[in-house]
């Protein structure tokens, strides 16, 4: 089978998964919660019952024959449309990006859920990407060292690190970092790192007034660079250290383990013995013969890693008051802002599925032996 066929098939499959995911999430939220909850995000508080009813019809939860909103709220007189109709309306709204008004506290009721979500999303993206980078930078060498020194001190050490990271409650690790670096360790009486938010507006080591930047991308680090505001950039860097570290340390276990076991397997291959028998330096053996074969399979867990990071960022964002979608998700859960959660789940789904797709294709392309 040719590459493009393979890609095509994977894309179709991706679309299917997303569709199924939408059905799942729709059923969970709309099927199991009363239709009034589903309606809430679309209703502007000022509306009269008549207005509400017309909206309920427009959103597709109330039948056109429904006499009054109170009947609708009491789920009587055949006011509620069948679930599949609701789904079609819902899907239409999802596709045109109409997610109604946000219910999040602290935000004007006239803000749309969509704009709120994607206003915050860049911060989460920034956090996750930085964390992912850190994870790779730490995990891969760790895995290699522990494989090349199997059952020796470095191996034990790196296993403890990765297993430890894997076993530490993320919220606790974050809290301890705060305790240590913000409360107890002080530089010249100053807090070492900012406790909150993506910007260093309150961090002691930060430039007192970093000024403002133009939101090209919404991602502070990038925007700061694009608008050449170096103080702002450093503030953002300083601000992201602790959260990203927390996320990375607690996520690297998976990757380290994969790299380690791959590496150990590869090092047991005959061609490694051959390479040694040729009198090559151990470094040459490891890096030019073993590494590539060991890293390649490790790429395949990237998808898993992304899933883990997105999940983890919810907790980390809460601990560090990171203004991303993760911390907002919890608030959304508190105020029953179903649409926000739905949006989050779907976006996360898209990201993960696409990542997996890219990884698979990349893998297929990279390894000369793979014949899909």
């Amino acid at each position: 089978m040719r590459l493009y066929e393979y890609v095509l098939r994977r894309i179709l499959f991706m679309v299917f998964v997303l569709f199924a995911l939408s059905v799942l999430i729709f059923y969970l939220t709309r099927g199991l919660l009363p239709p009034t909850t589903a309606l809430a995000p679309y209703i502007n508080p000022r509306l009269t019952d008549a207005g509400k009813l017309s909206i309920a019809r427009a959103v597709g939860v109330a039948t056109s024959s429904c006499p009054s909103f109170s009947d609708f709220a009491a789920l009587q007189n055949g006011c509620i449309t069948p679930l599949w109709t609701q789904y079609l309306y819902w899907l239409k709204n999802v596709l045109v990006g109409n997610w109604g008004y946000t219910l999040l506290p602290g935000i004007s009721g006239t803000e749309s859920t969509w704009s709120v979500f994607f206003g915050r999303f860049p911060y989460t993206a920034e956090l996750d990407i930085v964390a992912a980078a850190l994870t790779f930078l730490i995990a891969v060498p760790l895995g290699i060292i522990s494989a090349t020194h199997n059952n020796k001190a470095p191996d034990h050490l790196s296993r403890i690190v990765s297993l430890g990271g894997y076993s530490i409650p993320q919220f606790w690790f974050g809290a301890m970092l705060l305790l240590v670096f913000v409360l107890y360790v002080r530089i010249g009486g100053l807090g070492l790192l900012p406790a909150s938010g993506a910007l260093g507006t309150t961090c002691a080591l930060c430039f007192s007034n970093p000024g403002t930047i133009t939101a090209y991308t919404g991602v502070p680090l990038l925007d700061a660079l694009l608008s050449r505001n170096i103080p702002y950039f450093w503030d953002s860097v300083v601000a992201i250290i602790l959260p990203a570290m927390t996320l990375a340390i607690t996520s690297l276990g998976l990757l380290t383990r994969i790299v380690r076991s791959n590496m150990m397997e590869v090092l047991r291959q005959d061609y490694i013995t051959m390479a040694r028998s040729k009198g090559l330096k151990e470094r040459t053996v490891v890096y030019s013969h073993a590494l590539r074969n060991a890293i390649l399979p490790a790429i395949t867990v990237t998808g898993l890693l992304v899933t883990y990071l997105i999940g983890g960022s919810v907790i980390v964002e809460i601990v560090f008051s990171w203004p991303g979608v993760g911390s907002a998700a919890l608030v959304a859960a508190d105020v029953l802002d179903i649409n926000f959660l739905e949006l989050f789940v779907l976006v996360a789904g898209v990201i993960i599925v696409v990542t997996n797709l890219t990884v698979d294709i990349l893998y297929a392309v990279l390894d000369p032996r793979i014949r899909y």
Binding site: Y271, T273, M274, R276, S277, K278, L280
Partner: protein, 383 residues
């Protein structure tokens, strides 16, 4: 004529004394080598035969210092060309492998890195320690140049190059670029000399694009590249079909005489031994039970095991059907006491289980370790 050669060539390139070796496994300690004694003369082709699992390959690995981490040498020395290999520091051992000891392995499929081209896997040898290869490469090139200069209408640039190379020879150093170029042409010439078609193409190919026989040739070429003092050939023909086997073996022989290296040919196939070897050592359960010159051994094998081994070989003239030895190779976790062969030995008697026989020279250059031929009187001193 090779006999004459071995007789007069007195000095050993390799001599193994009382080599004892254990494997530590979760199941317990496996005593893989139980004090083996072996020597190879310069330019000699020694066969090492025995059933699989009797410690042939381990011996080779021990010589090349490629033992797995859970192996431990508990006694004896391996002296290669005057220096004790076992005492070498890792770095020295590496250099020894790079220059003096080359090894060719059983399975050409798995012993080449699938994701690197043949070329790069050959080139990395010279790149590992350029100094060691300068003279080889340069001399090779000089010879080429000489030929061309003598030949009709030589390339005018040649004399200049010759000068440059001579300087390089003195300073023992080459530019990176030049090193690579020379390596390439040299490697290709080697590939040609192991009779690979279109060596330039092969140089660029990935292993999985080559057949088994071709890969084995590539491995031999790699070995030749280093002009080693000792070549360890571990079951190199097992994975190949018969016709290819023959070619490879002849290649080995030619190579041996060409660069005058000594070869330890490990195999379980007596036919091969008979075909190419000068001397042969029979191994059983971590012991060398009999060493003799090939024809001698085939004419009158002494050790009961050797007898059995020979008997099990199918003959061309089907005067009698091959009969196999009773029982199977012992589990070396708990090796039999005394002579390790006694449980399977048809001629075993009361001494065998209790004491370990020593090597006795029963005929010139014919050693055997079996109580049937004496060694009963006096303590077990492994002379």
């Amino acid at each position: 004529m090779s006999q004459a050669h071995t007789q007069e060539g007195g000095d050993d390139i390799l001599s193994i004394q009382e080599l004892k070796l254990k494997f530590h496994t979760y199941a317990g300690e496996v005593s893989a080598l139980d004090g083996i004694k072996l020597s190879i003369k310069k330019g000699e082709l020694l066969g090492l035969v025995g059933e699989s699992g009797c410690g042939k390959s381990v011996t080779a690995l021990a010589i090349a210092g490629l033992l797995p981490p859970n192996a431990e040498v508990t006694g004896g020395d391996v002296v290669l060309d005057g220096k004790n290999v076992l005492a070498l520091k890792p770095e020295e051992m590496r250099l020894a492998r790079l220059k003096d000891i080359a090894m060719i392995f059983q399975d050409p499929m798995t012993y080449l890195n699938p994701v690197l081209t043949i070329g790069s896997q050959m080139a990395e040898i010279t790149r590992a320690e350029p100094k060691l290869f300068v003279s080889t490469l340069v001399n090779y090139r000089l010879r080429q140049i000489d030929k061309q200069v003598e030949g009709t209408n030589p390339n005018p640039g040649l004399p200049a190059e010759r000068e440059r190379l001579r300087h390089a020879l003195e300073s023992q150093s080459l530019g990176r670029k030049e090193l690579n170029e020379l390596t390439r042409s040299y490697a290709i010439s080697l590939l040609r000399s192991v009779r690979l078609p279109e060596p330039e193409k092969v140089f660029e190919m990935y292993p999985f694009e080559l057949s088994g026989g071709m890969r084995q040739r590539v491995m031999i070429a790699m070995a030749m590249m280093r002009r080693p003092k000792l070549l360890l050939a571990d079951e190199i023909t097992t994975a190949l079909d018969v016709t290819v086997q023959a070619q490879i073996l002849h290649l080995l022989k030619d190579l041996r005489s060409e660069i005058n290296t000594s070869v330890l040919l490990i195999t379980h196939d007596l036919a091969i031994v008979a075909e190419v070897c000068d001397r042969v050592a029979v191994m059983y359960a971590g012991n060398i039970v009999e060493i003799a010159e090939v024809h001698e051994l085939f004419r009158n094998p002494l050790h009961p095991y050797s007898k059995g081994l020979l008997a099990s070989v199918p003959r061309a003239d089907l005067t009698r059907t091959p009969d196999s030895i009773e029982g199977s190779v012992p589990d070396l976790l708990s090796p039999p006491s005394g002579c390790r062969f006694h449980p399977r030995c048809p001629k075993a008697f009361e001494v065998c289980p209790s004491r370990k026989p020593s090597m006795i020279e029963v005929a010139p250059d014919h050693y055997v370790s079996c109580f049937l031929y004496g060694g009963l009187n006096g303590k077990n001193n492994n002379t």
